[in-house]
């Protein structure tokens, strides 16, 4: 039986006709009661289960997923991992995630293929250059790495960019974060699932949470398509379906669900070894290890639960891309898809106990929660284990909408993602 992944076990199983591998995670029947139940088997839910078991020693835990692991946004995203945010609260959060990502392959014994190839957020106008300088200053003051790039630097990292003097999007410079990168999205979900399962967590797929068990004004469990499951505490990390779950629990959220699209081209030789984002053109791209160009952009305009995108936004994204990289006009697209993301007015996540005591929230990551998975898991696990906030999650409580202490990253760093 081979459990541990290493070069040695590859050789061993190679000689053994690959017959000795054990399943990455076990498929068990639901128990009637757990200490903690987590709704949603995306990255945030699975990471929460792992940190509950590893950091807090709480192993009587189930993750309940209505489809398959990572079949939501975690398996649909464009895998950009970065911490170039504006406000100190956000930088603390996303930097925590990035630091955890940096050690994650080793910690989980699962190669998440983190590739810190750097990311350039382009500025095309003098005004955007000034905004870039402001963001770089804020990031440096917050203690995270950032550099202000000028035109020569862009030329160095993006040799195939359209530098013609007639270019629609001239590259004056931008914000560079060298530690930004990409990671393999499925591997993040599967790695956490495998590590959590090994610590005793039950992973229940094809099991839909339909309602909450509410007794004495407190959440006491969930009603699922595979029966009622009691729990002392319940966490939910269901992204675009958060409002739906909240409605069952009797409250509303400051969330609107939108489709966010992405697409990939046919694979080509390596031509782009950084991540490029142009807020001005509404486009970002990176080249996958297989050679495909992975392309994304802004949100669709119409709130939606239909997991498919709409053409006008795709047209904006692609016309921006081919303007910036004329060589990409020849690329053929292979796939296009969308995920339903949970958009919050201040573009910051919601972490904390919900208005229904005993039910804890991890949502509102919108277009950018893949990069936050290790932190979202750590923080929701802390909430579920202790019933109180971690210092880093405190500012992201739902109460900020009543107190007015919004963390407005859309305005702060001009992010689309």
């Amino acid at each position: 039986m081979t459990r541990h992944y290493s070069a040695l076990s590859l050789v061993k199983e190679g000689l053994n006709n690959q017959k000795g591998w054990v399943r990455a995670w076990e498929s068990r029947a639901p128990k009637p009661r757990y200490d903690v139940v987590i709704i949603g088997g995306g990255g945030h839910g699975l990471a929460t289960a792992y940190y509950l078991a590893r950091t807090h020693g709480i192993t009587n835990v189930a993750v309940i997923e209505k489809g398959w692991l990572g079949g939501g946004n975690t398996g649909r995203n464009t895998t950009v991992v970065r911490s170039n945010y504006f406000f100190p609260e956000s930088v603390r959060l996303y930097d925590m995630a990035l630091k955890l990502y940096e050690g994650l392959s080793r910690e989980l014994n699962y190669n998440i293929m983190l590739s810190q190839r750097g990311m350039i957020s382009l500025a095309h106008t003098p005004a955007e250059m000034e905004m870039s300088a402001r963001v770089v200053n804020a990031m440096q003051i917050n203690g995270t790495d950032a550099e202000l790039f000028g035109p020569e630097d862009v030329r160095r990292v993006l040799p195939i960019y359209n530098f013609s003097d007639k270019a629609r999007y001239p590259a004056l410079g931008g914000v560079w974060q060298g530690r930004s990168g990409t990671a393999r999205h499925d591997a993040v979900a599967w790695g956490y699932a495998r590590a959590a399962s090994r610590l005793g967590v039950d992973i229940l797929q094809q099991c839909e949470v339909q309602d909450f068990l509410i007794e004495g004004g407190r959440c006491r469990g969930v009603v699922t398509s595979r029966g009622t499951i009691r729990a002392d505490r319940v966490g939910m990390a269901v992204a675009g379906h958060s409002s739906q779950m909240a409605a069952r629990a009797g409250f509303r959220l400051p969330v609107v669900s939108y489709a966010l699209q992405a697409c990939v081209s046919e694979p080509v030789k390596p031509v782009l070894d950084t991540i490029v984002l142009s807020p001005g053109a509404g486009t970002y791209a990176s080249q996958s290890d297989k050679g495909e160009m992975v392309v994304g952009g802004g949100l669709d305009r119409i709130p939606s639960y239909g997991q498919r995108g709409n053409l006008p936004v795709l047209e904006t994204v692609l016309s921006g891309l081919v303007e910036m990289f004329p060589a990409f006009r020849q690329l053929r697209l292979m796939r296009q898809w969308a995920g339903i993301v949970d958009v919050v007015p201040d573009s910051s996540p919601i972490l904390g106990e919900s208005p229904l005591p005993g039910l804890f929230l991890n949502c509102g990551w919108g277009t950018g929660g893949f990069k936050a998975i290790p932190a979202g898991g750590t923080l929701l696990a802390h909430l579920l284990a202790t019933g109180t906030h971690h210092d880093i999650s405190r500012p992201f409580d739902l109460d900020r909408f009543a107190t007015g202490r919004l963390i407005d990253e859309a305005a702060g760093s001009g992010i689309a993602h």
Binding site: Q244, R252, P254, V255, V256, N310, A402
Partner: protein, 89 residues
């Protein structure tokens, strides 16, 4: 391309329209409005999956109107003048 129908202009392409939130989300009135009530009005949304009653702005003509649509199938009924949708004269 999604087509919405403005009560004033008729069927037009989606990029001429802007989403304005839930139908019936009226501004709280009076001197004693709590922070929670303000927050509900300003930020909290129904965000239903399926049938939805919404406010939309047709940016080209400026008409603000009511729209009934389905957020899963993306079917949309023709837009209705706000006065009619809310039973006001």
């Amino acid at each position: 391309m999604q087509i919405f129908s403005c009560p004033f202009c008729g069927p037009r392409p989606e990029y001429e329209f802007h989403f304005g939130g839930d139908l019936g989300n009226h501004r709280p009135e009076g001197p004693e409005v709590s922070a929670e009530v303000w927050a509900q009005y300003l930020h909290f949304r129904n965000n239903p999956k399926g049938a939805s009653e919404e406010i939309w702005l047709h940016m080209t003509c400026g008409e603000i109107f009511a729209l009934q649509r389905d957020t899963l199938t993306m079917e949309a009924a023709p837009g209705q003048a706000l006065t009619a949708a809310e039973g006001r004269p």
